[in-house]
């Protein structure tokens, strides 16, 4: 027992010192802990491996450092809101227009008037009051098993509610904002009653419980658990890049009607930004040229500026007509969409 005690007496302070020295010895991490005067601070719900290469490049080109933390949009927005004028954050990057719309509603963004952004980012993919701007596009589309489904059998999102697909449909959970946004656009087009019928039809056609993510869903289709599903294009891209022979293909629905549902990842400059000019410089940099191509390409998304070249794999999926609704419908009708899906039994 005494040896035990001695051990502890030695180990505890050692641990404390070790732990503390980790912070103080490593100069760089201290520098990161307290951002410099000319350093942009970003809160991002877009993951590190999709933003770090860009920030590194920006720093190399301009000499302006960028520090960031990543987390879910809910916690980040709560922190931004609580910090108020004390926040170190200059920019919030997040995925899905619904989240950007909410952030704007909460007054977390400031108005950014920029000719570059107006010119590069199509109107449909930015806030009407210039508080946030889309930086990349993702289509939420239909994926099918090439050995069991002919593309002629597919037509629209709405048609997946038909009896033909009974027991053959796989969906991701309704808790994911991507599905909420898709249903929000359906409500905008068809009204609530008709949309609820469609969603009910989907639920009736489900082959199995809804999936926690798009990748698991596509693997289930490939394994034969179901034949069709609705996924974001870049998830398909990742799967295809890993396994080019996978017997899955994308289908562009609603080409004769409303067009494919597209959503954005985007950013805005915070209300209490300490470096609004620098942040605007970063935002404009991200929206054009190579950076814009890289921003989309890293995640196999579509550049928000149609003039920018797409990633070769993304290009191989072909062109499609996209829905021309302003993406802020995702925010405006998000709560409605969630309630509707709850009522329809879509978990």
């Amino acid at each position: 027992m005494l040896s035990c005690l001695r051990h502890l007496i030695i180990v505890l302070p050692a641990l404390l010192i070790l732990g503390c020295s980790d912070g103080s010895e490593d100069k760089s991490s201290v520098a990161e802990a307290k951002p410099d005067k000319d350093e942009i601070v970003v809160y991002s719900s877009r993951k590190e491996h999709l933003i770090k290469p860009l920030f590194d490049r920006f720093t190399a080109e301009t000499g302006i450092k960028v520090s960031y933390i990543t987390d879910g949009e809910g916690p980040l927005m709560a922190r931004l809101e609580a910090e108020g004028e004390r926040t170190p954050a200059d920019m919030l990057i997040t995925v899905d227009a619904g989240n950007l719309w909410q952030a704007a509603q909460k007054g977390l963004f400031r108005v950014t008037d920029s000719e570059v952004l107006e010119q590069k980012v199509p109107e449909q993919f930015q806030d009407s009051q210039n508080r946030w701007f889309g930086l990349s596009l993702r289509a939420r589309t239909i994926v099918y098993a090439t050995d069991r489904v002919k593309p002629e059998q597919l037509s629209t999102y709405e048609a997946l509610a038909d009896d033909e697909w009974d027991g053959r449909l796989c969906l991701r959970t309704s808790k994911k904002v991507y599905n909420q946004s898709l249903v929000a656009t359906l409500i905008e087009r068809h009204g609530e009653a008709a949309t609820q019928e469609i969603v009910k039809g989907w639920v009736d056609n489900l082959a199995t419980d809804v999936f926690p993510n798009d990748t698991a869903l596509m693997e289930a289709i490939a394994a034969g658990q179901c034949d069709v599903g609705i996924v974001n294009t870049y998830y398909f891209g990742r799967l295809q890049a890993d396994n080019p022979d996978i017997k899955l293909a994308l289908f562009w629905p609603n080409q004769d009607t409303t067009g494919v549902h597209v959503n954005i990842s985007g950013a805005g400059i915070t209300q209490h930004a300490k470096h609004p000019q620098l942040a605007q410089q970063l935002l404009e940099w991200l929206a054009q040229g190579e950076a814009q191509a890289l921003f989309a390409g890293l995640n196999m998304e579509y550049p928000v500026d149609p003039a920018i070249e797409q990633d070769p794999l993304v290009k191989s999926w072909g062109t499609f007509k996209a829905d021309d609704l302003n993406v802020d419908v995702a925010g405006r009708r998000q709560a409605e969409a969630i309630k509707l899906m709850d009522r329809a039994g879509y978990r």
Partner: protein
């Protein structure tokens, strides 16, 4: 909070002088308790306005189902962790069979596997598209399939990651009991089974309940694992209100209801235990006193332990290792050392501070047998049952409140306004303390209770000076419990995700953060490297401390 409270009065003059002098103890304990309960106060303050529409919607569409699901999950996990934890603890603490020494340590290792990692590994392995079912279909035909995302699977996975809490505490209790009570029972005519159920089990009850309470609170708090199964619990409603309806206030209200349920549960447990008190002699049995199992019984014991160990540890680790070899190793870069370093330093600092805080609270309650002391301690440890993100936001908001006060001061002095706490290491460590105080408090209090007043009194009568009493009685008797507590908190901090994500300083990413980055994008394979690293780093303290407690 969990284990039996001390019934005997502990007069102050019988205490070592350093304890007596600590009028300080009281104020420190109160400050500590306030700090830890502040996030809960934030929740209570959420009731100022009620969004009737969202409440109505939740009530109409799902609240009943979610409550039902939660109850089923809690019952399932209770049965699962008790069956596994108590039986394994009994076998390894009192019996001897081939491999027993090895299982002593091995059965604790699943503690190092985070629940969210276990969940996605198991689903990837056993669900329809996983290798197990694919092989089964290639043998037995295409119609063979089962779902591994139902209630049974959730209960199984949660039980497998949470049984070590019960195992660890129950094993300690069984070891401390020694053979004497059982031998006495045998002499009074009890068979081995009756002896176990009538003597050993009731004596270990406080420890078992402490472990079970930790497991159940962690079940209630879990969101990562259940969301892999899309199994909706009460936590789901909290997140729906927050992430779906962007209504943090309703989320906080739901969370405070959850806490009320936990408090009621703990209260009922106390009532159920009544006035029974369990004192132990604190003597460890010699290994020669073990029941030697032979033949079929020995084989059964070994197979049972081996089976649990394989499913709870070998299988997930093997799958993670396979993914790493299969390509996830490409994620390796020099920053990994930084991730490991941050994880280790945060976990060790937080573990030590949290256990010291728990000890302080325990001593405070022991010396001040007041209602307020009990209530404070209860409140200070109940946060463990809160969903991690909700507690994280509560903590962030309370530190933010301090920052706001400092900002006013900074403004008055004409200084630039800067946050002091939020986004700093100190706040993050204190957040861990708040989150895991309950995990540390259980084992610490259990060992405090073992120091009966008569022991220190006897020592004092024999002329021992307070310093000697401290050195020869307090420290040795507290040590096993404190080591257990340090281990629990260390491993818990390593696995912790939401508070780390929200409050880490820039650049202070940990292994758990990397796991989050991957799994939230559906990249289960790529999460294998950080996942495996968490397990590997967690193994070191688990093995060291289990070895130590086995002495």
């Amino acid at each position: 909070m969990i284990s039996a409270s001390v019934s005997t009065v502990w007069p102050a003059e019988k205490q070592p002088h350093w304890l007596r002098r600590m009028g300080l103890l009281r104020s420190t304990a109160i400050v500590l308790a306030l700090m830890v309960t502040a996030p809960l106060l934030v929740l209570a303050l959420s009731w100022t306005t009620i969004d009737g529409e969202i409440w109505l919607h939740l009530a109409q569409t799902q609240l009943l189902r979610l409550l039902g699901n939660t109850a089923i999950l809690l019952m399932g996990v209770t049965i699962g962790v008790l069956l596994l934890g108590v039986s394994l603890a009994w076998l390894t603490a009192t019996c001897d069979f081939p491999g027993r020494k090895w299982f002593d340590v091995g059965l604790m290792l699943p503690l190092a596997v985070p629940a969210y990692v276990m969940a996605f590994v198991m689903v990837a392995l056993f669900d329809y598209a996983g290798p197990v079912q694919v092989v089964l279909r290639s043998w037995l035909g295409p119609d063979v399939s089962f779902s591994f995302r139902g209630t049974g699977a959730v209960v199984l996975v949660m039980s497998l990651v949470l049984y070590p809490y019960v195992y660890m505490l129950a094993r300690g209790a069984f070891l401390a009991q020694g053979r004497e009570p059982l031998e006495a029972a045998r002499m009074l005519g009890c068979g081995p089974f009756a002896g176990f159920f009538k003597v050993a089990l009731p004596m270990a009850r406080p420890a078992i309940i402490a472990g079970l309470a930790l497991a159940l609170m962690e079940t209630l708090a879990d969101f990562g694992a259940v969301s892999v199964f899309n199994y909706d619990t009460f936590t789901t409603a909290i997140y729906k209100a927050w992430y779906g309806f962007f209504d943090l206030q309703t989320a906080a209200q739901l969370a405070s209801l959850l806490l009320m349920l936990v408090l009621v549960g703990l209260y009922l447990e106390r009532r159920g235990r009544g006035d029974a008190r369990y004192f132990q002699t604190g003597r460890r049995q010699a290994s020669s006193g073990r029941i030697l199992l032979r033949g079929r019984r020995a084989l059964l014991a070994s197979v049972f332990c081996g089976l649990v160990f394989s499913i709870a540890f070998i299988v997930p680790v093997a799958q993670l290792a396979y993914w790493v070899i299969d390509g996830a190793w490409r994620d390796w870069d020099s920053r990994y050392l930084g991730l490991v370093g941050h994880t280790l330093s945060l976990a060790s600092i937080a573990a030590v501070i949290t256990v010291l805080a728990a000890l302080l609270l325990g001593l405070y309650r022991r010396l001040h047998q007041t209602k307020m002391a009990n209530t404070l301690v209860r409140l200070a440890t109940v946060g463990y049952a809160l969903p991690g993100s909700v507690l994280a936001v509560g903590i962030m908001l309370s530190f933010n409140w301090l920052d706001a006060g400092i900002a006013d001061l900074q403004k008055a002095l004409g200084l630039p306004v800067q946050p002091w706490f939020v986004g700093g290491v100190l706040a993050l460590i204190l957040a861990y303390t708040t989150r895991f105080l309950a995990a540390a408090f259980g084992p610490v209090e259990t060992s405090l209770e073992r120091i009966k007043p008569s022991i220190t009194e006897a020592a004092a009568i024999l002329g021992a000076k307070p310093a000697e009493i401290t050195r020869r009685i307090y420290l040795p008797m507290l040590m096993p419990g404190m080591l257990t507590a340090i281990l629990l908190v260390f491993v818990d901090v390593m696995k912790e995700m939401p508070a780390t994500l929200l409050m880490r300083p820039f650049g202070w990413d940990t292994l758990a953060v990397r796991v989050y980055e991957m799994t939230s994008e559906g990249l289960w394979q790529q999460a294998a490297l950080p996942g495996l690293s968490i397990v590997a780093v967690g193994l070191i303290p688990v093995i060291v401390l289990v070895r130590r407690s086995a002495h």
